[in-house]
């Protein structure tokens, strides 16, 4: 054992922190969720390698075929291989979920921290923005923005980012309001730390947890929203393989070809469950520390 660790040390590799691993294993949701997400990321990266067919190539001689040996998940009305389209669709849907969560997270943390720490006019202004935004139902706001900008993938990104940052900002603001009164924050200020240092080094590391948990549900929400907008014809446009748009295209065949709506929806659900499980696992870690 010691020899192994020394060998690892000599090779410049830190020995695995066994206790950390054991803590992680105590949360099966986290492990399963992470494994699923890694799998989905691999599919997104390797789509051109693993997809058996070209996802947008039409072949009318095999249109609307049920799942079978040649086409494992069947074909659509243009004879395109559904498995290949779903595999390529991973790229679009995953990117929507991740990018439209990460950018709002950054904006929200910035605005929320400044707003909660300094208060004043900035904070009042920010609270009014929240009031106005919560008055719009989530999907109505998204749809209204897409209506102004015009349907399409890029505009869908703008809409989701414009709508998404507020929740993060509100969350961080609330946490900072409480944390800045706590002893460690007061102590940091007392020893002469500047505002920027207090926020970045002392407050944010302590309050970022809930925002990260929320980020996991935001990924799910954004993937669902992106698919929903594309389903309505307001997001990703054909022939780009996107799961929501695929379900929309399948609508005229729902009576006869069940596999066309079934599998893309299943793909959304699997990715959604993966991120939900990670969020579930992470929130389990936060709870004991907060009580």
């Amino acid at each position: 054992m010691i020899v192994q660790e020394r060998a690892a040390g000599a090779a410049g590799i830190r020995p695995a922190r066994r206790s950390t691993v054991r803590v992680w294993l105590r949360s099966p949701s986290l492990v399963v969720g992470l494994a699923l997400v890694l799998g989905v990321l691999a599919v997104a990266a390797l789509a051109p390698v693993v997809a058996p067919y070209n996802p947008i190539k039409q072949n009318y001689s095999v249109a609307v075929q049920p799942p079978g040996a040649a086409h494992l998940l069947g074909t659509d009305k243009f004879g395109r291989d559904q498995l290949s389209r779903i595999l390529y669709g991973t790229r679009i849907d995953l990117a929507v979920g991740l990018i439209c969560t990460f950018i709002p997270l950054l904006i929200g943390v910035g605005v929320g921290a400044v707003s909660g720490y300094y208060g004043g006019v900035m904070d009042t202004l920010f609270m009014r923005i929240i009031d106005v935004q919560v008055a719009f139902p989530f999907y109505v706001l998204l749809i209204a923005i897409v209506a102004v900008l015009g349907p399409g993938l890029i505009n869908m990104y703008y809409a989701l980012i414009l709508v998404g940052w507020v929740a993060f900002a509100r969350l961080i603001r609330g946490e900072i309001l409480v944390a800045k009164q706590l002893e460690y924050a007061l102590a940091a200020r007392a020893i002469g730390c500047g505002d920027a240092r207090v926020i970045a080094r002392h407050l944010l590391p302590n309050v970022i947890g809930p925002a990260l948990v929320f980020a996991m549900s935001a990924v799910v929400l954004n993937i669902l929203a992106g698919a929903s907008l594309s389903f309505l014809g307001l997001g990703v446009q054909p022939p780009i393989p996107e799961w929501g748009a695929m379900i929309a295209e399948s609508r005229e065949y729902v009576m006869t070809a069940w596999w066309l709506p079934a599998f893309p929806g299943l793909a959304i659900t699997v990715v959604g469950i993966a991120f939900s499980l990670i969020g579930d696992g992470l929130s389990g870690f936060l709870r004991p520390r907060r009580s």
Partner: protein, 312 residues
């Protein structure tokens, strides 16, 4: 009277919100890249037609005048005219709003009927298989697109089994309840997934509260403790959450109405966007926003009246 001041303050806040809302919605049409009249009519439109539409929309006047016309019109219930349907937008709202309201209320009722038993059982069976199963139910419904579930339900219960109609909202109350069951259930399941977890945690927190310990010490039967002492308190936070989810449900109705081909506001809004009928989009957005603001206001006021702690 702190409470009166709270309600007055909340009303003032609502006034500010509505004013900002009006400005935002007003600018919606004006923010469209290019000339909105050309966008709405298509590039083949004659210059005369474009000019006429610009005039009809008031785009040929100074912006403050446009806003004054918009806001006085909206106050009188005049939301302009649909370019495609050639009817006042207000008429469309009157025709389609009732179904949307019915659907959202129905979904809330179903969500409550699903949440209360599941949340209670999950809490009482904490960490046992049943709790895990209910947790799995939650994770699944949170992660599933409602439009997909809607389509699958249509296929299964509408087409294959023939238990429910595949479109339309019905005319009478009884017909509404029957025709809108699948759409309302689809929406309700999604919300109950979130609410169930909240209720479970809330019940678990209440179970250790002093008054529950006292009730146990007095030797009250378990069933009575749960229904009278635990649920009553635990349900408050879940009801608050349900109030917040009204906005989400109203938004979700846009998608579900499109899936089930229901003649509500949402399906009209989607076809208006695809048809570039911006007057309709603008008017509907305003109605949705005002509707949700009013619901939030009523929720807050109701709390201020019921819960003495709010005035603190």
């Amino acid at each position: 009277m702190n409470r009166r001041r709270y309600i007055a303050g909340r009303l003032g806040q609502m006034g500010v919100t509505l004013a900002v809302l009006a400005v935002l919605v007003f600018y919606m049409i004006r923010l469209i890249p290019g000339d909105p009249a050309v966008t709405m009519l298509g590039i083949q439109a004659t210059p005369d037609a474009v000019e006429q539409l610009r005039h009809q929309l008031g785009l040929d006047r100074p912006v403050p005048v446009q806003f004054a016309i918009f806001i006085t019109g909206a106050a009188r219930g005049d939301l302009g005219e649909s370019v495609l349907a050639r009817v006042p937008v207000a008429t469309l709202v009157r025709q389609r709003l009732p179904l949307t309201l019915f659907l959202v209320t129905y979904a809330m009722v179903l969500a409550t009927l699903i949440t209360v038993p599941l949340g209670t059982v999950a809490a009482l069976q904490r960490d046992r298989p049943l709790d895990q199963a209910i947790r799995g139910f939650s994770v699944f419904w949170i992660s599933t697109p409602s439009f997909w579930v809607g389509i699958l339900m249509l296929i299964a219960f509408g087409v294959k089994l023939g238990l429910f109609p595949v479109g339309g909202g019905g005319r009478t109350f009884a017909e509404h309840v029957y025709y809108l069951f699948l759409p309302a259930l689809t929406m309700g399941l999604g919300v109950s997934a979130v609410l169930t977890r909240n209720l479970r945690d809330s019940i678990l927190a209440t179970l250790t509260a002093e008054h529950v310990v006292v009730a146990r010490a007095k030797g009250l039967p378990a069933r009575r403790i749960v229904t009278r002492h635990v649920l009553r308190n635990a349900v408050i936070s879940t009801v608050t959450l349900l109030g917040l989810y009204i906005g989400f449900l109203v938004g979700g109705s846009v998608i579900i109405e499109s899936v089930f081909a229901l003649p509500g506001m949402g399906s009209e809004m989607v076809s208006a966007i695809l048809g570039r009928d911006y007057q309709v989009v603008q008017g509907f957005t305003l109605v949705y926003a005002v509707l949700v603001s009013v619901v939030y206001l009523l929720t807050d006021v109701a709390y201020a009246l019921i819960d003495p702690r709010i005035s603190l």
